[in-house]
């Protein structure tokens, strides 16, 4: 190495150290955060809350299969006990009858504070007569079986009132005292983690705990034929992070190895290969550091994307080594650097458009690419010449270029094929214009189809709530939130009566506001008033007052009973129902009211609901519609931004190249290649997603380099075997880098691979076809 003391080298080393420091301290994630909007609407904010913090994000579903039903039930109980003791879970539910009995006891003790029927009228002679007659009539029904033993203490049927208003449909099936799937072949547990869904590390720990506890139990009980399945949003996050991490490592290793082998084969010099990879490595490191500084966290997808930089940044050093070989110092700089600089600039313009995306995932990719490419180019330009040993010579590849010259010349005779291909692609795209772009978020999901199917089946087993339609309220305090939930509940009850809704859930059902509880408690009459009223009420009923002394006792106790607090509910299933619907946020309290729509195919009458909520500033949210809307917004925005980026590139090149014909010759191959790639993907049944769009930007970034080289003002690469060979080599490196991505099972990486790989080859070939021949 010579002249290591040169200032650029020192600056570079310092920069590398700084970037490495930042990258080592950066926080890495692979959760949904990359897909969440940066400036959400209120409805989107709710979606984000649910995805990162909400009940759904903490919910894990566990299925136990195999062995015998009795063994499964035993494993379910054992697992529930262990997990409850472990402290990683807020709640562990497996349908254990003992827990249900505890819940019922809690409801029964607080029935006069909880029952919506409790009012002063309820305890007048008329009110008592009506309520007790109803209870006696209910005894005629099988539904009254439960009531009979309670009649002496609860003759007005408050517990029935309470339980009757609970959502019993869709509750899980039971066998041997624990929840099982509909077909009885699987024991089911429902867990709520203590950690938020966005805390992937803690979620990974919780999931590992479930697996190890189950393995212990099964081996203790010698049940080697029992299996356990775990699903839930956290499992997806943990799995996809692991998949992306391992994929990123595997693909980078593969890609790097392949490119190194290619370069070794061509250069026949270890030093040159090592030096050639320095810009790539520096770029990748700078990219990660830039994202860590700019966004606080680095998403796993961004790292995965890093592999793509191998394919692009390595081009710069290839151009440098191949084209500058045998050059006097400075010759390459004068002749080729302006072209490369313009190529880098166009790439920056293309990726800069992503920076403006409201989709943090895209913005990260944009920043990563810009920082990476600029660094790689700068290192190539300013550092490599200093590091290059004076006597370094790479194997002369001019013969390859000369061998190709004939082919190149032949290609340019086919130039008329270009518009034909472009037109055909445009026709295909136009014919399929309604299904070019995938309209749902699932196209972006790193979750495999098998995982999604498992989740669906466990959810169906549990009758887990379908939280598609929600009414959302905000309030400054818990009390205010509960009061507003009660007010909105009043409006919704009207809709239930009219059949617009089948029902709804509310946190105020198990935790009424203090005001409501006080009103109910105040409605309870004194003992002798109640005794007198009872006497009158029972006159023509077959029940005698002296049998109801327990009722008088209970009401008397309830008159001085402390109000129900969240603490009193602690540890019961009811607390879970309240906690999942009443959320404390830094900016206040949020109430979720999930709606149940009537069975059948009738469309949900959204307008009726919105009319009923009018003036209450409660917000109606359709979660499913909202997440698809969100995605469509991203996609529309990303398409617009990309078009703006391409326009900026055209303007930039127009200004630099100054000749309209050269501009056309540079842009036509790139645009045509894009059209053909899109048409190819659509024709082979792909729906394009945001990641395909990113791939298309990459084609622009890589492809303009080729096109620019083929259209240098003064020369034609067809006449310069070395330039020709360097282009071919750069193209091969790109295709290897992206071709490997195309093999990835992670859909997002694969999407980029199958877009850029073919796109890069096409741009090179099309550029060659359209290259301006300077005939001498």
């Amino acid at each position: 190495m010579t002249r290591l003391s040169a200032r650029p080298v020192l600056l570079w080393l310092l920069g590398l150290a700084l970037c490495a420091g930042v990258a080592l301290r950066a926080h890495y994630t692979a959760d949904m955060s990359a897909f969440l909007p940066r400036s959400p609407t209120p409805a989107q904010q709710l979606l984000v809350d649910q995805l990162t913090e909400g009940v759904l994000s903490r919910l894990l579903l566990v299925g136990i299969e195999g062995s015998t039903p009795a063994a499964r039930a035993e494993l379910s109980r054992g697992l529930a006990r262990r997990l409850e003791d472990g402290g990683l879970f807020l709640s562990v539910r497996n349908g254990d009858a003992a827990i249900l009995a505890r819940d019922r006891e809690l409801l029964f003790t607080h029935r006069y504070l909880l029952s919506p029927s409790v009012s002063p009228e309820r305890f007048t002679p008329e009110g008592l007569h009506a309520a007790i007659s109803e209870s006696i009539d209910l005894l005629a029904s099988p539904m009254g079986m439960m009531l009979k033993s309670l009649l002496g203490r609860d003759p007005t049927g408050e517990l029935v009132e309470l339980i009757g208003s609970l959502d019993t449909s869709g509750s899980p099936s039971s066998d041997k005292g624990v929840w099982v799937s509909r077909d009885g072949q699987r024991a089911i547990l429902m867990l709520q983690t203590r950690a938020a869904g966005s805390d992937t590390d803690a979620q990974a720990l919780a999931i590992a705990r479930i697996r190890s506890d189950f393995a212990d139990l099964a081996s203790e009980a010698k049940l080697s034929d029992a299996r356990m399945l775990v699903s839930g949003a956290a499992v997806f996050a943990v799995n996809s992070r692991a998949a992306i991490e391992s994929e990123a490592v595997r693909l980078s290793t593969l890609g790097t190895t392949a490119v190194i082998l290619l370069l070794l084969l061509i250069y026949r010099s270890f030093t040159a290969v090592f030096l050639g990879l320095l810009p790539v490595a520096s770029g990748a490191l700078a990219g990660i550091a830039a994202v860590a500084l700019g966004f606080g966290t680095v998403h796993g997808l961004t790292i995965g994307f890093g592999t793509t930089l191998i394919g692009e940044a390595v081009d710069y050093s290839i151009y440098y080594f191949v084209q500058s070989d045998d050059d006097e110092d400075g010759g390459w700089m004068k002749r080729f650097w302006p072209t490369i600089r313009l190529g880098v600039l166009t790439s920056i313009f293309g990726f800069a458009s992503l920076l403006f995306s409201g989709f943090p995932g895209l913005a990260q990719l944009g920043l990563y690419s810009i920082a990476g490419l600029v660094t790689a180019a700068m290192v190539t330009r300013f550092v490599l010449p200093h590091l290059r040993p004076a006597r370094l010579h790479i194997h002369d590849i001019a013969p390859i270029g000369r061998a190709l010259a004939g082919f190149w010349a032949w290609l340019s005779r086919l130039r008329l094929v270009v518009p034909v291909l472009g037109l055909a692609a445009a026709v295909i795209l136009f014919a399929n214009k309604d299904h070019v772009w995938s309209s749902s978020l699932s196209g972006l999901s790193p979750v495999s189809a098998a995982d999604q199917a498992l989740d669906q089946s466990l959810r169906a087993d549990l009758g887990a709530p379908n939280l598609r339609y929600l009414v959302v309220l905000k309030a400054a305090s818990r009390e205010a939130a509960l009061e507003r939930a009660e007010a909105v509940g009043e409006r919704l009850r009207g809709l239930v009566a009219e059949g617009v809704l089948a029902g709804f859930e509310s946190p105020a059902r198990f935790l009424p506001s203090t005001a409501t509880q006080q009103a109910r408690r105040n409605a309870l009459p004194e003992r002798d008033v109640l005794a007198r009223n009872l006497q009158t009420a029972l006159a023509d009923l077959p029940l005698r007052a002296d049998r109801l002394s327990a009722f008088l006792d209970d009401v008397d106790t309830a008159r001085s009973q402390p109000l129900l607090t969240p603490e009193a509910l602690r540890g019961s299933t009811l607390a879970l129902a309240v906690d999942s619907l009443l959320l404390e946020r830094p900016q206040g309290w949020t109430v979720l009211i999930p709606l149940r729509t009537p069975d059948g195919d009738a469309p949900f009458q959204r307008a009726r609901l919105e009319a009923a909520l009018d003036g209450s500033d409660a917000l109606f949210v359709d979660i499913f519609g909202e997440s698809n809307n969100l995605y469509r917004t991203y996609l529309d925005e990303a398409i617009l931004l990309s078009l703006a980026g391409i326009l900026a590139i055209i303007v930039l090149m127009g200004v630099v190249l100054r000749e309209p014909m050269r501009l056309v010759r540079v842009m036509v191959p790139v645009v045509t290649a894009e059209l053909i790639v899109m048409a190819g993907l659509v024709a082979t049944g792909h729906m394009l997603t945001l990641l395909h769009l990113v791939g298309m930007l990459l084609i622009v970034a890589v492809g303009t380099n080729y096109a620019l080289f083929f259209n240098q003002a003064d020369r034609n690469p067809g006449d310069d075997p070395r330039t020709l060979a360097s282009l071919l080599l750069a193209n091969l490196a790109t295709v290897i880098g992206f071709g490997i991505l195309a093999l990835s099972p992670v859909p997002v990486l694969q999407a980029i691979g199958i877009t850029v790989g073919p796109g890069a080859v096409l741009t090179l070939v099309l550029s060659a076809m359209l290259a301006h021949r300077i005939d001498r």
């Binding site: 009539d137 005629a140 539904m143 002496g152 005698r544």
Partner: protein, 190 residues
């Protein structure tokens, strides 16, 4: 003398045999199984210790062999209970409950008592009950004593009576001493 006695005993036995063979459990079951279904009115009285008078309800029933039974209570409140194969559903006002019998062994045992009788399925009955038949073909009484302790916790005895293939009344004596009696009046099938 001895011979004469033996002969007499033989004759007596021969004479007695047709009388026995004419009415036993297999025959009742065969006869019941022949009943393909129909409509009936019912009145049910529940005698509950806490109440001075029984709770009376009435309505109509519809049976279709072998596993569909519908009980429509018209008084004092409308209620519909449908037992269809493995599912029992109960509708009262706005409430509707559906249970799968497989998941509720106790409910299944209750259901089996009436369904087993209606369809003449002796094996199903004997899974949970010891059977005892008395009376004649035109006026028989079948006693079911729970052999399953979990059912015995709820019901002490079920008494079903009828004539020929027609069930006339079902009485449940509950473990807590309360009992319910349902009398059934067939409506002529059209």
């Amino acid at each position: 003398m001895t011979f004469a006695l033996r002969l007499a005993a033989c004759l007596l036995t021969l004479a007695a045999m047709p009388a026995f063979a004419a009415w036993d459990l297999p025959q009742l079951m065969t006869e019941l199984a022949r009943n393909q279904g129909g409509r009936a009115l019912f009145t049910e009285r529940k005698y509950i210790a806490l109440l001075d008078k029984p709770v009376v309800s009435s309505g109509e029933m519809h049976y279709r062999a072998p596993d569909y039974l519908e009980k429509r209570t018209l008084s004092p409140r409308l209620e519909l209970m449908v037992l269809d194969k493995d599912e029992i559903s109960l509708e009262r006002g706005k409430q509707k409950i559906t249970l799968r019998l497989r998941e509720q062994p106790e409910v299944l045992a209750f259901v089996a008592s009436i369904r087993g009788t209606l369809s003449g399925n002796r094996a199903a009955l004997e899974q949970n009950y010891a059977l005892h038949l008395s009376g004649q073909r035109d006026n028989w009484t079948l006693n079911l004593s729970p052999s399953n302790p979990r059912i015995a916790e709820l019901v002490t005895r079920i008494t079903i009576s009828g004539s020929r293939q027609q069930v006339r009344s079902i009485e449940y004596l509950q473990a807590d001493g309360d009992r319910s009696v349902m009398s059934i009046e067939p409506v002529d099938a059209r």
